[in-house]
Symmetry: C2
Subunit: 387 residues, 2 copies
Amino acid sequence: MHTNMLTDRDYHKRIQIIQQKVRDKGLDGVFIFANEAEPANVRYFTNYRPVFEAAGIIIPRTGDALLLIGPETEALAREHSVIKDYKKLLEFRESSDPDYPDIKQDTFNDIFKEMNNGEGIKLLGLIGTNIMSVQVYEGIKNALPEATLFKEDGLLREMRMFKSPEELLILQKAAGIAGKGFEYAMNRIKPGMTEFQASAECMYGVYSHGAEGTGFAIWCVSGKATNQAIGISTRKVIRKGEIVQISMGVMVEGYVSSFGRVLFFGPMDPEVKRLLKTGLTANAMTHDLIRPGVNASDVAVQVYDYISDQGMGDHVVYGPAHGIGMMECEYPFIETTSQFIIEEGMTFAVDTFLAAPRYGMRFEDTVAVTGNGVNQFCNFRREIINL
Amino acid sequence: MHTNMLTDRDYHKRIQIIQQKVRDKGLDGVFIFANEAEPANVRYFTNYRPVFEAAGIIIPRTGDALLLIGPETEALAREHSVIKDYKKLLEFRESSDPDYPDIKQDTFNDIFKEMNNGEGIKLLGLIGTNIMSVQVYEGIKNALPEATLFKEDGLLREMRMFKSPEELLILQKAAGIAGKGFEYAMNRIKPGMTEFQASAECMYGVYSHGAEGTGFAIWCVSGKATNQAIGISTRKVIRKGEIVQISMGVMVEGYVSSFGRVLFFGPMDPEVKRLLKTGLTANAMTHDLIRPGVNASDVAVQVYDYISDQGMGDHVVYGPAHGIGMMECEYPFIETTSQFIIEEGMTFAVDTFLAAPRYGMRFEDTVAVTGNGVNQFCNFRREIINL
């Protein structure tokens, strides 16, 4: 239990793989960006995740990868990062823009000059472009006025989309902790509690069972707020006769499982029961339909058609499943417009969310595609839990 | 307890104030950006905070403010935002870049065209520039090819730097919850526990006492890791004879208090005791020195000189206090290079952090500058806690 499942070697191997892709593409290197809200890109190669600050990695076509951090995380990076070579740049400092009069900073200019045995960088791929900050992007452009920059998120996406046996074990562990944490909380949440208090029970449940973090702030919402695709717990009091929705993404070694369940106290309105039953049937269908060789859009269309036949087509916000791994939600997405074949080694959050005007529901679980179907990492109480 | 201390009127008043600043500066509007890791800029005007996604606000020189959200947070924004007029833009979608084939999106183009009674925007101020994503920035630039964009973070900074009586009450409440949560955890943390488990006790402590969130993931680190200015709990087991450092930032109504304490189990090495005593003296000095009319750099220099006289000058990473409010760390910073006079209504985290090579320590508390000194919002066990 006290050893990481991923070794330094696993991280170094990932660097080698993307370095080969850089050479195959004819690039001089890639720059990979991550921030506190979305640390996955950097953690995938280093096991380091930025807190408060942003972070980056430069992987040149030849030579060693370099970690870029802000001024305050030096001790943290030294302890956690597999890449031991790092530089501190003001562009990665925390969002409040401190001055750090006493800390020596490096510059993109000096860093790029030394890359590729002093040949520098003329063609640079960028990864993490959708979250990259303007100041980092402009810092790079100013340091490389002659270079051409390409959006190359795909290079990393194609790596992260398929999980190794170790990654699958970690995700399975994360899913198991979510189930145990939920069971702990379920036995404590009662009408009369605030959503905050209920969330506290969930948090204690998952952290005391071994979570290292959560992919997002756990939410426990009730009543009308259950129709929020993305929720935030509030100080609203949970009452009998309303849907209580719990969503949590448990993190282990940087990998996030996703877990959603509904609790209900007291007598249930028939319309609510019909929503929940429709959701559960759509959820079971999705678990059945995901298998290797299947067209992703076929899964989405069949699930959507079923929900639509129940008169709830307008309750659908997004497709029935999304990729999951170091991000709670990542490529590939199973949508009606998806254009990919499901393959062994992919992992999905089967995420059945229906938003009616006055309430909503979500059942969510993490699965891995096997040779002939899916491995359901946690199926604890995937049912109407009426307490 | 179940009512927010800030009313819709308070938020609308803030919008009016910045709109007046926009006019005074001769701008046609400001665009304000926030993301999940740093929601403060948007929450300050709306009470809404983006989760998974980013968010923005456009405040034109005349007419109503407009909230910009991503495709998945419509129900959340409708519930939480004080600004009821909103648009959904793909540029604000979550970091995994979903497609959302079924959701109708708006565009920057259409939005800007209608601003200022159809006169549009020629001079636009930008706020939140240090975290702004490239895709949002370029979305704006492409929609306003003729406009001039200015970095105007200062407009908001000068508003947020001074706290109203309501804001002070909220921060005081957040600080009180941190103290109570720490007391709860302190009575449960024991040698033999992992840092994860200890953090779980802290989390339960603050959430069960009324926290709505935390300004950063609470950390409880031990041994060598205590010299990390920014820490992350790990599965390391806490042992007797090593420093245990707890840092937590408790959020209430979007405002974050900051709280840091050291726990110690068993006999203490004299060198460790000297570090802690030096830190506590520097901490008390800082509390004494911060008062209205004082030059901020004088505070920093005096505290630094004291620490340096103890032979620990090289243990200092940053100045003795930083602004605090909707961000756990925000302007103004008390550094040796600071150029401002401390004034009533400012709030600071007195943040004494010393990083020795093999361990470190932090004492941290939230204070408000009053007419003649500071109001210490929480001073629970600001001492060497040897259990």
